[in-house]
Amino acid sequence: MSEQEHGLNYIAKDSLMHRIYPLTKLAWVFVVAAGLFFYRTPYTGAIMFGVILFMALVVSRVPLATFLGSSKLIFGLGLILMVFHFFADPGQPVYRLGPLTITDGGLQEGPIFFFRLSVVVLASFVLIWTTDTRDLMVSLANAGVPYRYAFAVFLALRFLPLIQREVEAVRSAHTIRGRAAQSGLIHRFKLWQRYMFTVLVNGLRKAEMAAIALECRGFGASRQRTYIKPVKYRPVSLVLVAVFLVFQVGLIYLERSGILA
């Protein structure tokens, strides 16, 4: 899968969301994520999901194709969590599937967890799509985070697409080599083991090379770090956090008052 396909990269555009100070956007993700833990019905989560989707496609001008390309990641984990809750939560049995039982409690809780996770993942993606990782690093350093740690965040985000590309290359190679095992499950487990092994080994090599490169360039030698492109904080960015804080509280209030029950 190429970067174009998985779309987990910064998209250079001039949107309202792109212009917001990176740290404020990070705070926005936390506001969105924190509120989700108070939701008790799937409707609240669905409304928030719709709002974040609007933020992605309209306010951030993220192409629909990019969103669709990332939909496996956005919805995948949420779906797994939802199905898990169908079976794991206590309640009256609704449907039996062999030794497993789907409960009414599970059917109620499952969608809540689905939206919780999907909203957090989508909001994080909006942050990635609209924020240059270097700007995020600079804004963290501006906020007083020692630049060694800020750079660690930058490196982690920089490595993410590389690791993803590596996983995809391994998957393609394994697809081409075909299946030698009889059992699909055993084969899948062995492939998964090999993905992990290859990605881990190559990840360690990359980390070692990055560390050597940083040493060679005298990283950390100077107390003060300068940046080519300054990132200036504009208090107006806080409007985003304020609006979402009010919206979040309003949504929870409507839910608790029974309107969104």
């Binding site: 190429s2 174009q4 192409p63 290359a169 697809t175 081409i176 030698a180």
Partner: protein, 343 residues
Amino acid sequence: MIDTLGVWLPETSEIGVGLQQAAGIEKHPIPITVSETIDLFQEKGLLQKGYSVSEKEAEPRGDRSPQVLISGKNLRFEYPGGVEALRGITFDIHQGEWLMILGRNGAGKSTLANLLVGLKKPTGGRLNLFGKEASRWDVQTLANQIALVFQNPEHQFLTDSVADEIGYSLMAQGVSDPREIEGRTDTWLGKLGLLEQKDTHPFALSAGLKRRLGVATMLVGDPQILLVDEPTYGQDKEMTFTLMSLMEEIRDQGVSVVMITHDMRLVQEYGERVLVMSGGQLLFDGLSEGLFTRDKILHQANLRRTILHKLLREMEFHGAPVETRVRKTADLERLLKLRLSGE
């Protein structure tokens, strides 16, 4: 001595070292730049007239079987994000052919490779693979016809020993008798000089041996085309020579060898038919020596002329043109030595 260290020398220095071994210029410093080499040639009277090779001496070029294995017509591919990786390219790949696909990063080479092995399907145009439309092939069946060796062979390894890697490929081909697997594994390992490393973990092999094992695992299915992505990436000269000799052996067995590269020196020394890609378009389809005379295409594809070709230009400028059939460093060195010895 430098040869044994596997060090890449500029072509000018290679010629200089070669000429040093010829009579009369032992004490002359080895040239590095093109102008130093031209000075040496002038001093030794090597630029008084042009150089040509007889028909008999010239290496046969561009001969190919009429049988077309792969045919792409106005082939297009667009990523879901809207990025057009291939913008209508048309080409054929023939049986037993030695083809290099050349271009800078982002030119569309790897996307094309993924289409050829079925990992991606075209979003426009027609792609016929071994007599069937690309959409009618599944990846694993197609892998028996065209084998892709990835740029990083480690991505292909699935087991914990060299022998098991070959064994895995045989089992994926449907071979189930353990004795047959063992016998055929040994045969393949012997062919590729990997018998001594039979029980070694694939990740513990040297870069060159990993590449060999990558090739071996893909050759087990007797493919008609071997597609190799950046075969010499990060390899020294000696390992490059060994790998290219292996590719030549494979081609001699009737397998078409398609190489993806951006190494212009590799094209110069080993190229026959070359496809040049840039921005998802095909800029050039022809013999490698023809490419080096096309300044506009080299510029468009952001490719650089090799030192040898810069030297050949300078020789022409100084009144000693060299026939285009002379394309390798060794060819020119041989002609210069002949001139020096008065033949």
